[in-house]
Protein backbone atom coordinates (compact mmCIF):
# COMPACT_ATOMS: atom_id res chain seq x y z
CA UNK A 1 0.00 0.00 0.00
CA UNK A 2 1.86 3.05 -1.23
CA UNK A 3 1.06 6.36 0.46
CA UNK A 4 2.00 9.70 -1.04
CA UNK A 5 3.27 12.24 1.52
CA UNK A 6 0.11 14.33 1.50
CA UNK A 7 -2.24 11.52 2.51
CA UNK A 8 0.27 10.19 5.04
CA UNK A 9 0.31 13.65 6.59
CA UNK A 10 -3.48 13.76 6.85
CA UNK A 11 -3.54 10.30 8.41
CA UNK A 12 -0.92 11.36 10.96
CA UNK A 13 -3.02 14.41 11.83
CA UNK A 14 -6.02 12.19 12.43
CA UNK A 15 -4.14 9.76 14.66
CA UNK A 16 -2.70 12.62 16.70
CA UNK A 17 -6.21 13.85 17.47
CA UNK A 18 -7.44 10.50 18.82
CA UNK A 19 -5.09 10.73 21.80
CA UNK A 20 -7.11 13.58 23.30
CA UNK A 21 -9.77 11.10 24.39
CA UNK A 22 -7.64 9.87 27.27
CA UNK A 23 -7.41 13.37 28.68
CA UNK A 24 -11.19 13.62 28.69
CA UNK A 25 -11.52 10.45 30.75
CA UNK A 26 -8.90 11.64 33.24
CA UNK A 27 -10.47 15.05 33.69
CA UNK A 28 -13.93 13.58 34.19
CA UNK A 29 -12.60 11.31 36.93
CA UNK A 30 -10.84 14.22 38.60
CA UNK A 31 -13.88 16.49 38.59
CA UNK A 32 -16.07 13.64 39.84
CA UNK A 33 -13.79 13.04 42.80
CA UNK A 34 -13.68 16.77 43.56
CA UNK A 35 -17.49 17.01 43.52
CA UNK A 36 -17.75 14.00 45.79
CA UNK A 37 -15.32 15.59 48.26
CA UNK A 38 -17.28 18.84 48.13
CA UNK A 39 -20.44 16.94 48.94
CA UNK A 40 -18.88 15.35 51.97
CA UNK A 41 -17.38 18.53 53.34
CA UNK A 42 -19.30 21.58 52.11
CA UNK A 43 -17.29 24.13 54.05
CA UNK A 44 -14.10 23.44 52.04
CA UNK A 45 -15.86 24.15 48.78
CA UNK A 46 -13.86 27.24 47.75
CA UNK A 47 -10.46 25.71 48.44
CA UNK A 48 -11.38 22.46 46.68
CA UNK A 49 -12.65 24.33 43.65
CA UNK A 50 -9.39 26.23 43.20
CA UNK A 51 -7.32 23.08 43.49
CA UNK A 52 -9.63 21.24 41.09
CA UNK A 53 -9.17 23.98 38.52
CA UNK A 54 -5.39 23.71 38.75
CA UNK A 55 -5.64 19.92 38.47
CA UNK A 56 -7.86 20.17 35.38
CA UNK A 57 -5.36 22.50 33.70
CA UNK A 58 -2.56 20.02 34.41
CA UNK A 59 -4.56 17.07 33.03
CA UNK A 60 -5.49 19.16 30.00
CA UNK A 61 -1.86 19.70 29.11
CA UNK A 62 -1.45 16.26 27.51
CA UNK A 63 -4.32 17.02 25.17
CA UNK A 64 -2.70 20.36 24.38
CA UNK A 65 0.57 18.65 23.40
CA UNK A 66 -1.43 16.58 20.90
CA UNK A 67 -3.14 19.72 19.58
CA UNK A 68 0.20 21.46 19.05
CA UNK A 69 1.49 18.38 17.23
CA UNK A 70 -1.64 18.56 15.07
CA UNK A 71 -0.91 22.17 14.14
CA UNK A 72 2.74 21.50 13.43
CA UNK A 73 2.05 18.56 11.11
Amino acid sequence: MALDPESARLLAKGIATITMGGSGIGEGYLIGKALEAMGRNPEMEGSLFTKMLIGVAMAESTAIYALVAFFIL
Partner: protein, 265 residues
Protein backbone atom coordinates in the same frame (compact mmCIF):
# COMPACT_ATOMS: atom_id res chain seq x y z
CA UNK B 1 -18.11 34.29 2.28
CA UNK B 2 -21.76 35.21 2.57
CA UNK B 3 -23.55 37.35 5.12
CA UNK B 4 -23.40 34.90 8.03
CA UNK B 5 -19.72 33.99 7.85
CA UNK B 6 -16.57 36.05 8.21
CA UNK B 7 -13.38 34.94 6.53
CA UNK B 8 -10.05 35.43 8.25
CA UNK B 9 -6.61 33.96 7.97
CA UNK B 10 -5.43 31.46 10.56
CA UNK B 11 -2.51 32.88 12.61
CA UNK B 12 0.78 31.27 11.65
CA UNK B 13 3.10 29.53 14.12
CA UNK B 14 5.75 32.17 13.53
CA UNK B 15 4.73 35.77 14.20
CA UNK B 16 5.21 38.10 11.22
CA UNK B 17 8.41 40.18 11.16
CA UNK B 18 7.58 43.86 10.77
CA UNK B 19 10.95 45.55 10.39
CA UNK B 20 14.57 45.22 11.47
CA UNK B 21 16.63 47.26 13.92
CA UNK B 22 20.18 46.59 12.80
CA UNK B 23 20.01 42.85 12.21
CA UNK B 24 17.44 42.17 14.96
CA UNK B 25 13.95 41.38 13.63
CA UNK B 26 11.03 43.06 15.35
CA UNK B 27 7.93 40.84 15.37
CA UNK B 28 4.31 41.62 16.19
CA UNK B 29 4.41 39.94 19.58
CA UNK B 30 7.42 42.08 20.55
CA UNK B 31 5.41 45.24 19.75
CA UNK B 32 2.61 44.11 22.03
CA UNK B 33 5.08 43.23 24.83
CA UNK B 34 6.38 46.80 24.64
CA UNK B 35 2.82 48.10 24.78
CA UNK B 36 2.10 45.99 27.88
CA UNK B 37 5.28 47.27 29.54
CA UNK B 38 4.28 50.85 28.78
CA UNK B 39 0.81 50.24 30.20
CA UNK B 40 2.27 48.69 33.38
CA UNK B 41 4.62 51.64 33.92
CA UNK B 42 1.81 54.15 33.49
CA UNK B 43 -0.55 52.28 35.85
CA UNK B 44 2.08 51.89 38.56
CA UNK B 45 3.13 55.55 38.33
CA UNK B 46 -0.46 56.69 38.77
CA UNK B 47 -0.95 54.24 41.64
CA UNK B 48 2.11 55.39 43.55
CA UNK B 49 1.10 59.02 43.24
CA UNK B 50 -2.25 58.46 44.95
CA UNK B 51 -1.11 56.06 47.69
CA UNK B 52 -2.61 56.95 51.06
CA UNK B 53 -3.48 55.30 54.36
CA UNK B 54 -7.21 55.59 53.60
CA UNK B 55 -7.47 53.90 50.23
CA UNK B 56 -9.78 55.01 47.44
CA UNK B 57 -11.27 52.67 44.89
CA UNK B 58 -8.20 52.44 42.64
CA UNK B 59 -5.87 51.48 45.47
CA UNK B 60 -8.44 49.10 46.93
CA UNK B 61 -8.51 47.01 43.76
CA UNK B 62 -4.77 46.50 43.92
CA UNK B 63 -4.86 45.67 47.62
CA UNK B 64 -7.49 42.99 47.04
CA UNK B 65 -5.44 41.59 44.17
CA UNK B 66 -2.30 41.58 46.32
CA UNK B 67 -3.96 39.81 49.24
CA UNK B 68 -5.61 37.12 47.15
CA UNK B 69 -2.39 36.34 45.25
CA UNK B 70 -0.44 36.15 48.51
CA UNK B 71 -2.99 33.75 49.94
CA UNK B 72 -2.74 31.55 46.86
CA UNK B 73 1.05 31.39 47.04
CA UNK B 74 0.76 30.66 50.77
CA UNK B 75 -1.34 27.61 50.05
CA UNK B 76 1.37 26.24 47.80
CA UNK B 77 4.47 27.00 49.79
CA UNK B 78 2.86 26.61 53.25
CA UNK B 79 5.41 28.99 54.73
CA UNK B 80 4.92 32.74 54.97
CA UNK B 81 8.65 33.42 54.72
CA UNK B 82 9.12 31.65 51.39
CA UNK B 83 5.93 33.22 50.03
CA UNK B 84 7.10 36.73 50.73
CA UNK B 85 10.45 35.96 49.15
CA UNK B 86 9.11 34.74 45.80
CA UNK B 87 5.93 36.80 45.75
CA UNK B 88 7.21 39.56 43.40
CA UNK B 89 8.20 36.91 40.84
CA UNK B 90 4.96 34.95 40.99
CA UNK B 91 2.78 38.06 40.95
CA UNK B 92 4.67 39.41 37.93
CA UNK B 93 4.27 36.12 36.09
CA UNK B 94 0.58 35.96 36.89
CA UNK B 95 -0.14 39.56 35.87
CA UNK B 96 2.00 39.55 32.74
CA UNK B 97 0.65 36.26 31.42
CA UNK B 98 -2.91 37.16 32.42
CA UNK B 99 -2.81 40.53 30.68
CA UNK B 100 -1.16 39.19 27.55
CA UNK B 101 -3.74 36.40 27.29
CA UNK B 102 -6.66 38.78 27.65
CA UNK B 103 -5.44 41.89 25.85
CA UNK B 104 -6.66 40.72 22.45
CA UNK B 105 -10.21 41.16 23.72
CA UNK B 106 -9.85 44.93 23.20
CA UNK B 107 -11.68 45.46 19.91
CA UNK B 108 -9.62 46.63 17.02
CA UNK B 109 -6.24 46.03 18.61
CA UNK B 110 -5.30 43.11 16.38
CA UNK B 111 -6.80 44.62 13.24
CA UNK B 112 -4.19 47.33 12.75
CA UNK B 113 -2.01 46.38 9.81
CA UNK B 114 1.21 47.67 8.35
CA UNK B 115 2.10 46.53 4.83
CA UNK B 116 -0.56 43.85 5.11
CA UNK B 117 0.87 42.33 8.30
CA UNK B 118 -0.76 42.77 11.69
CA UNK B 119 1.08 45.07 14.09
CA UNK B 120 -0.09 43.54 17.39
CA UNK B 121 -0.28 39.87 18.27
CA UNK B 122 -0.67 38.42 21.72
CA UNK B 123 2.81 37.49 23.02
CA UNK B 124 1.75 34.16 24.50
CA UNK B 125 0.69 32.92 21.05
CA UNK B 126 4.38 33.05 20.21
CA UNK B 127 6.37 30.01 21.34
CA UNK B 128 9.47 32.20 21.74
CA UNK B 129 7.90 34.08 24.66
CA UNK B 130 6.66 31.05 26.57
CA UNK B 131 9.87 29.12 26.04
CA UNK B 132 11.95 32.07 27.22
CA UNK B 133 9.82 32.39 30.36
CA UNK B 134 10.02 28.67 31.16
CA UNK B 135 13.78 28.52 30.55
CA UNK B 136 14.38 31.58 32.73
CA UNK B 137 12.34 30.02 35.54
CA UNK B 138 14.31 26.78 35.27
CA UNK B 139 17.65 28.59 35.53
CA UNK B 140 16.39 30.61 38.49
CA UNK B 141 15.23 27.50 40.35
CA UNK B 142 18.51 25.64 39.70
CA UNK B 143 20.59 28.60 40.92
CA UNK B 144 18.48 28.91 44.07
CA UNK B 145 18.79 25.17 44.64
CA UNK B 146 22.59 25.35 44.35
CA UNK B 147 22.60 28.23 46.80
CA UNK B 148 20.58 26.28 49.33
CA UNK B 149 22.18 22.85 49.09
CA UNK B 150 25.73 23.78 48.13
CA UNK B 151 27.25 22.48 44.92
CA UNK B 152 27.98 18.94 46.19
CA UNK B 153 24.60 18.61 47.86
CA UNK B 154 22.98 19.72 44.61
CA UNK B 155 24.78 17.09 42.55
CA UNK B 156 24.09 14.60 45.31
CA UNK B 157 20.36 15.04 44.80
CA UNK B 158 20.64 13.65 41.31
CA UNK B 159 23.43 11.11 41.68
CA UNK B 160 22.72 9.56 45.07
CA UNK B 161 25.90 7.59 45.70
CA UNK B 162 26.23 8.38 49.39
CA UNK B 163 22.95 6.81 50.57
CA UNK B 164 23.80 3.82 48.36
CA UNK B 165 27.07 3.13 50.18
CA UNK B 166 25.62 3.84 53.60
CA UNK B 167 22.61 1.60 53.30
CA UNK B 168 24.43 -1.41 51.84
CA UNK B 169 26.16 -1.55 55.21
CA UNK B 170 22.76 -1.87 56.88
CA UNK B 171 21.58 -4.87 54.96
CA UNK B 172 20.53 -6.12 51.54
CA UNK B 173 16.91 -4.93 51.66
CA UNK B 174 17.79 -1.35 52.46
CA UNK B 175 20.58 -1.56 49.90
CA UNK B 176 18.23 -2.48 47.08
CA UNK B 177 15.89 0.38 47.97
CA UNK B 178 18.82 2.76 47.83
CA UNK B 179 19.81 1.31 44.45
CA UNK B 180 16.38 2.08 43.06
CA UNK B 181 16.66 5.60 44.47
CA UNK B 182 19.99 5.90 42.67
CA UNK B 183 18.35 5.10 39.34
CA UNK B 184 15.46 7.46 40.05
CA UNK B 185 17.99 10.21 40.72
CA UNK B 186 19.12 9.98 37.11
CA UNK B 187 15.51 10.22 35.96
CA UNK B 188 15.24 13.49 37.90
CA UNK B 189 17.65 15.10 35.46
CA UNK B 190 15.32 14.25 32.59
CA UNK B 191 12.33 15.50 34.55
CA UNK B 192 13.92 18.92 35.00
CA UNK B 193 14.10 19.30 31.22
CA UNK B 194 10.56 17.96 30.91
CA UNK B 195 9.42 20.72 33.27
CA UNK B 196 10.60 23.39 30.82
CA UNK B 197 8.96 21.71 27.86
CA UNK B 198 5.67 21.08 29.64
CA UNK B 199 5.41 24.59 31.11
CA UNK B 200 6.05 26.32 27.80
CA UNK B 201 3.91 23.98 25.68
CA UNK B 202 0.95 24.11 28.03
CA UNK B 203 0.71 27.90 27.91
CA UNK B 204 1.48 28.19 24.19
CA UNK B 205 -0.88 25.40 23.15
CA UNK B 206 -3.86 26.66 25.12
CA UNK B 207 -3.71 30.26 23.93
CA UNK B 208 -2.66 29.56 20.33
CA UNK B 209 -5.36 26.93 19.88
CA UNK B 210 -7.87 29.42 21.29
CA UNK B 211 -6.96 31.97 18.63
CA UNK B 212 -7.03 29.48 15.75
CA UNK B 213 -10.40 28.12 16.82
CA UNK B 214 -11.82 31.66 17.07
CA UNK B 215 -10.99 32.22 13.40
CA UNK B 216 -12.46 28.85 12.43
CA UNK B 217 -15.67 29.43 14.40
CA UNK B 218 -16.11 32.85 12.83
CA UNK B 219 -15.87 31.21 9.43
CA UNK B 220 -18.66 28.89 10.55
CA UNK B 221 -21.16 31.32 12.05
CA UNK B 222 -20.14 34.87 12.89
CA UNK B 223 -23.17 35.73 15.08
CA UNK B 224 -23.49 34.69 18.77
CA UNK B 225 -21.34 31.58 18.48
CA UNK B 226 -17.89 33.23 18.69
CA UNK B 227 -19.01 35.02 21.87
CA UNK B 228 -19.45 31.66 23.64
CA UNK B 229 -16.00 30.54 22.54
CA UNK B 230 -14.44 33.85 23.55
CA UNK B 231 -15.95 33.52 27.03
CA UNK B 232 -14.24 30.14 27.26
CA UNK B 233 -11.08 31.88 26.07
CA UNK B 234 -11.24 34.36 28.95
CA UNK B 235 -11.56 31.52 31.46
CA UNK B 236 -8.70 29.63 29.82
CA UNK B 237 -6.46 32.70 29.82
CA UNK B 238 -6.91 33.38 33.52
CA UNK B 239 -6.60 29.71 34.52
CA UNK B 240 -3.44 29.21 32.47
CA UNK B 241 -1.82 32.26 34.07
CA UNK B 242 -2.77 30.90 37.49
CA UNK B 243 -1.39 27.45 36.67
CA UNK B 244 1.92 28.83 35.37
CA UNK B 245 2.46 30.92 38.49
CA UNK B 246 1.46 28.12 40.88
CA UNK B 247 3.67 25.58 39.14
CA UNK B 248 6.71 27.84 39.32
CA UNK B 249 6.00 28.40 43.03
CA UNK B 250 5.62 24.64 43.59
CA UNK B 251 8.86 23.79 41.74
CA UNK B 252 10.68 26.47 43.74
CA UNK B 253 9.39 25.11 47.04
CA UNK B 254 10.40 21.51 46.42
CA UNK B 255 13.90 22.52 45.31
CA UNK B 256 14.74 24.08 48.69
CA UNK B 257 16.57 22.43 51.56
CA UNK B 258 14.04 21.77 54.34
CA UNK B 259 16.68 21.53 57.03
CA UNK B 260 18.07 24.93 56.19
CA UNK B 261 14.59 26.45 56.07
CA UNK B 262 13.61 25.00 59.44
CA UNK B 263 16.80 26.29 61.08
CA UNK B 264 15.74 29.81 60.13
CA UNK B 265 18.72 30.13 57.68
Amino acid sequence: MNFLQVAGDIPSLQPPVLFHIGSWPITSSLMLIWLILLLTIVVVRVLFKILSLRPGIYQNIFEVLYESMLKLVDQITSSRKISEKIFPLIATLFLFIGVSNLITLIPGLTSLTYNGKEIFRSPTTDFNTTFALALAMLILIQVQSIRDWGIFGYIGRFIQIKPLILSFKQGLGAGLTAFINFLIGFLDIVSEIAKVVSLSMRLFGNIFAGEVLTVIIMAGLAYALPAVWMAMGILTGVVQALVFGSLVAAYYTISLNPGKQAAGN
